[in-house]
């Protein structure tokens, strides 16, 4: 598959802060590419460099095999974006906002066509209402209509589910999947939630402090054989000794808690083994090792925040 986005050695420095450091990745055509990282990891900076809002300190960005510096206008004709929150003119109506976005993209659609676009996102009945009267969900829908008005090949969404209610989040996920799987669009979506990326993305990249931590197919990165299983038993020492005397010892992770790294489908066998050896199991928790790692990044940051407070 051909790469729609190709980024090489991209870096951005704001005075003393290295926001993005030597980042390289490629996004294939028609895939949903998840860009995962905690807040402040460098996601938005990278997206802003992709969209020419920020000039990189070093590195190159190629979109549709063209350099963003030299072919900016040509590239942006085929890119639709929502950055953090939908950017709209609150004092204008939904129809007027959409018409402006269409004109900025070089189109001149009729009122009927604009209404049809609003119908697609379910806000046609509010076409002539000022945006300042809209809920966050409605603004997000209008933002999507604006981002897609010129039928772009590449859609860049920065934290698209922020501030949405559960129904809005589900609608956004369905829309992303429909755009990719049914309409063949390439979607580059950032999030700080692994659970969100996990359900929509084909590939993903994890970024922390501006540096790439992991990249690959979601199915590979979230391989079930890398599941971390944590057992809580009434007598932990007995449980430890039973495990150490068995084949399960090979899966035991260095921890004061009972943690084993294994394939997810082996969990019932482990539970049965412990039960057969009279170990009273209080709970069994499992999570993917990548999720555990990602959570540790977030938790570490939270500790810093708590300490500072």
């Amino acid at each position: 598959m051909s790469a729609i986005i190709h980024i090489e050695n991209l870096s951005k420095r704001f005075n003393e802060i290295q926001a993005v450091n030597n980042l390289s990745f490629s996004v294939a055509k028609a895939e949903v590419y998840g860009f995962l990282g905690q807040n402040g990891a460098g996601k938005s900076t990278t997206i802003r460099m992709l969209l020419t809002l920020i000039r990189p300190t070093q590195g190159s960005i190629h979109i549709f095999k063209k350099n963003i510096r030299t072919s900016r206008k040509e590239i942006l004709k085929n890119v639709g974006a929502i950055i953090e929150k939908p950017d709209l003119y609150n004092y204008l109506t939904a129809l007027e906002n959409l018409a402006i976005m269409a004109k900025l993209s070089g189109l001149n659609p009729s009122q009927k066509e604009l209404i049809q676009r609003l119908e697609r996102v379910g806000i046609a009945e509010r076409a002539n209402s000022k945006v300042k009267t809209f809920s966050q969900g409605m603004k997000q829908r209008l933002g999507i209509a604006c981002a897609l008005i010129h039928n772009p090949e590449l859609i860049v969404l920065d934290e698209p589910t922020n501030g949405l209610d559960p129904q809005g989040i589900a609608d956004m996920r369905n829309l992303i999947l429909r755009l990719s799987k049914e309409e063949g669009k390439t979607v580059f979506v950032s999030s700080h939630l692994l659970s969100e990326i996990e359900v929509i993305a084909d590939s993903m990249l994890i970024i922390d402090k501006g540096v790439k931590i992991a990249e690959g197919r979601v199915a590979d990165l979230l391989n079930p054989s890398d599941t971390l299983v944590q057992i809580e038993a009434t007598n932990r020492q007995d449980a430890f000794s039973i495990i150490r005397q068995s084949q399960w010892n090979n899966f035991l992770q260095p921890s004061h808690k009972i943690v084993l790294k294994m394939h997810r489908k082996q969990i019932p066998q482990l539970v049965k083994y412990l039960a057969d050896n009279n170990i009273d199991i209080v709970s069994v928790e499992h999570k993917h090792s990548l999720e555990n790692y990602f959570l540790s990044l977030t938790t570490a940051n939270q500790h810093v925040a708590t300490y500072k407070n």
Partner: protein, 279 residues
Amino acid sequence: MWRLTKIELFKIFKKPRTYIAFGAIAAIICLVQFALYVDGNTYMNFMLGSIENSFSVEGNLLNGYLVFFIILQTLLVHVPLLVALVAGDMIAGEANMGTLRLLITKPVSRTALLLSKFFASTIYSVLLLTFMAVLGLLVSMMIFGTGDLMILKSEKILIIDHADILWRYFAAYGFAALSMITVAALSFLFSVFAENSIGPIIAAMSVVIVFTILTTMDIPFFNHIKPYLFTNHMLNWKGFFDRPVDRREVIKSALYLLGHIVFFVSLTIYIFKRKDILS
């Protein structure tokens, strides 16, 4: 470019704040006209008090031309604020709403985007002056009639024949437009640094006020810098109401203002093209 400028004009005239300027100008003009209509004679007696003993003054002196001249002297000091209100909001306002990043992600060059915004500010400034001219001159002519224009200067009394007045107003209108566009360009420049429109508006007005004070203060030290202050040249619309008109001085001031506009806009484009949009 015209397509982008139309979009910018559409946005300007959809904003309620745009009409504050038109409302303020209408209010001031109507108040001056009403006051002169009701008590114009008192004003004229006060104005002519020192010269009526020496000269016999006859005819319709309180005519539409004089009323508009009074209005211009009162208003042209305040119009820059109204111009800055819109021009200062052109970039900073978009940054504040978050729509600036949206505009940058569209297939439009930053230079074209800025120029369209500047042209829209220019059209707004010209429309504001046109509104002022129509309401101030035409309505005053209808209410007070026409006649010769008598202007009292510090050292002389100038009487301009009524047939020789209109072209002077048109020329002064063009010069005032140039002055207001200079203020718009200055506000525009400040707008590129800010993420809310209050900062650029206050900054532009502060510069205009400080420069105007320096222009009007008769202190030898300031006299050296006066020729370089654009506010000094902004007042030269009055040059069209001299006889003869000092064309050389007026053209020099006009070119000076034009140079300022080109400098301010070029600097804005230079900065904006290199600016990281973080809003």
